[in-house]
Amino acid sequence: VTTGKRPVILVVEDNEVTRKMIRVALEGGGYSVLEAGEGRAAIDLASRHRLDLVIQDLRLPDMEGTALVVRLRNLPGSAEIPILALSGLHSEEGRARGLYADFSDPLQRKLLALNLGAAGFQVVPAGDGAAAIEEAKRSRPDAVVSDVLMPGMDGFRLCAALRQETALAEVPVVLVSASYVEEADRQLARSMGADALLTRTPDSRGVVDTLRDVLLRGHAGRADPPADATGAPYAERVLLQLDRQLQLGHGLARRLALREAQLAFLSATAEVTARSDDETQLVRQLLERGLDAAGLSHGGVYLAEPDGTLALRAEVGGFGAGGVALKSLPDGRRLVRAAFTADEPLVIQRDQTDSAAVFAASNLVSAVLTAIVSEGSRLGVLWMASEHREIGEDGGVFAKVAALQMGAALALSRAFTRVNAAEAKYRAIFEHASEGIFRTDREGRVVTANPACAGLLGWESADVLTQQAPDLGSLFADPLQAAEFMRRLYDRGSVTAFEARLHGRSGHARWAIVSARALLDGEGDTTGYEGVLVDLSERKRADELRELEAARRQELELKSRFVSQMSHEIRSPLAVIHQFVSILADGLAGDLTPDQRQCLDIVGRNVSQLRGLVDNLLESARLESSRLTVTPGSMDLGAQILQAVEACRPAARAERILLTVSLDPALPAVHADPQRVTQVVANLLDNALKFTPAGGTVTVHVAASETGSVQVDVADNGTGIPLDEQEHIFEHLYQGTGAAQLSRRGLGIGLALCRELIVRQGGRLWVQSEPGSGSTFSFTLPTAGAIASRAATGDQR
């Protein structure tokens, strides 16, 4: 009835890692595996496939495990499929149910059925002894094959019961067992009316051969009536077997628990690793899951830095009484170090003399320590311990698996962290770059852009820009430039440093350097373009400013040269006029009448004034083109002022003006250029004398003023300057209301020059004046001491 194909097992498990593990294990054992991650998929598969076994998780995302069992049982033809329940194992409830689930029997029964089917027998299954009797009565089989160890009625009693049934008394019975394997058991089987008691083998070859044999010969029959199923030999063998089963069952349960724990830990690891971004948290969770899976209450993880020092410690429960850490116990450090370098887990027990020290202050009875290893490098140590039971070889194996798994999880987590950090770094570069960075799709639409790119193009944000996804070509203000750029990009696959005017969103255009390249896939097809925009507007503006400044300088230079040329041109005839006026005045060309002399004096005076004007013009032009040099140094201001005043005395005397000087005797040295200071004082005195009527007074007052400076006042009691003209007189070539008068007397250029010279020497120059009562021109100069201390304190003002 069977096809002879490999048994098909459906694995229903939502945790993919666990599912794969089971699949690999089962396929290794010769089974064909179908997988379902949830209940509905399992039902779908079960309805379409002939299944030999279902292994299912009790916790499924879409339905209760028990509900799935019911649904599977109700599927046509599926009522008899054995179902192995596998719990998620995280909860005690799941664990309990998983352990209660009948593992071996239905699987073995199914295997046996499969093997018999493969051998050409038609198989009618039955779940236990009672069901077998009912089935046998109904279907009248040619032979009965039964396990010995069954809940309720066992194989021996089934055999005895069959012999009581008239119709079934002659049916050959073959018992199979992995437990009742001794001669006494075989004798008991025969006495119970069985034709054979065979030891179970995976291929059921013995069963097949025996069945063929008994079916050929027919039931051997028996001399004696079947033994009493309550008799002494039966009781003895069953009791013996129960005892053996208890031990066997214990070992089986342990192995099962270990496998189960490993699976549970594996799935937990996958879960925790994906969730945790903090190594401390990750280690603690892995440790807790590991302890949970192993059914242990105490454990710890010590992670080492590459240099061997302790990087991280996590402990659950602690090793010593009261939660004291393992490393803090006597001998604790040595054990951790020993486990760190050892290849195999270190299992220690309380009653071992060499580990007495560490257990002395502890309630624990047994512990296992093992190195956490990943890709050959030792990351740390995992320890687990029990308060109640001795940790054996299984515990060591589990700890080793758990430590390997932990190592892999840590390596994975660290790799994730590195990737995340790198991603964050590159994202920050992208977000904060001053260059615009963009990427387009295949059609050239800008689909990715950083804030700088959006800002440069005048978009309110990168999001808005990429939502609109404008065409790359549309970013250029000049269609010709756009065409040229796109042509180069298509032709060569890249364009470097293309200088272009970009068309901003709000109509503003910006100069930028655009570079872009095509993005190619594995086949060499263009998948898009990426590029960089560098704002040139600032640079362009700076260039323009520089050009402007250069032009201004050139203009000033031209003006200065022109003025210089003009002065020269004016001075030459002036020199001639001056010479001949003086020749006439000095009587070198004959005597003059008083009227003639007066006329000549007027000519002479105006020639002098014209000369002063030309000098000032020249200085002024020089000043503007920065050719006027000021070289300040420590100087005696008083001496310079007296010299300048003395030079003016003849003029003052001629005008009958009283010229007085008051000098602070304790005047400090100033930091100034003597030549320039004299120029300024002479200019101010010249003005004062000009604007003071005959009989008036001009006073020069020099005194130390505010801290660190000396103030010079040149006061007259002349005509004064109207308030609204007081600032204008410092402008170059000022032509105010009194222009005729002022310019004729040559004031305009002089004051502007004076102020500039004083400012350049670190001082100020200003005027206080009241029309009718005179003016006071004042200036300050820094003292040499103030400059020296400024230099000392590094004040660069």
Binding site: Q579, F580, R622
Partner: protein, 123 residues
């Protein structure tokens, strides 16, 4: 003492005339040159006691004249007073660098001119 001879080198005939009147009034003998080439020739032939040299000259400007005078030992000893309408700041340094004894800015005050000539001749 014999009358001292001054060579006036200036391309401006009016100024040459004015200066000659002024210097003759102060008892100087005066000879003239109107350009650079004739200035050097006059210095050779006339052997003046002093040369009053304008800078802006045709056929070799005043600086050029200074260079050539300096190159001829017999002429290099003749003191030269530069008198110019040019921007004093730049010209002065250059003139002194080429051996000028004094530097005057046009238009020059007669007192300053005569004092300077006396001082240079005395030196």
């Amino acid at each position: 003492m014999s009358q001292r001879k001054i060579l006036i080198v200036d391309d401006d005939a009016d100024l040459r005339l004015g200066l000659s009147i002024r210097l003759r009034a102060s008892k100087y003998a005066v000879v003239f040159a109107a350009d650079g080439t004739s200035a050097v020739a006059m210095a050779q032939s006339e052997r003046p006691d002093l040369i009053l040299l304008d800078l802006g000259l045709p056929a070799g400007d005043g600086f050029h004249v200074l260079e050539r005078l300096h190159a001829i030992p017999r002429l290099a000893v003749i003191p030269v007073v530069v008198i110019t309408a040019r921007d004093a700041e730049e010209a002065r340094d250059r003139a002194f660098g080429l051996g000028a004894a004094a530097f005057l800015q046009k238009p020059v005050d007669n007192t300053v001119l005569l004092t300077t000539l006396e001082e240079v001749l005395r030196a």
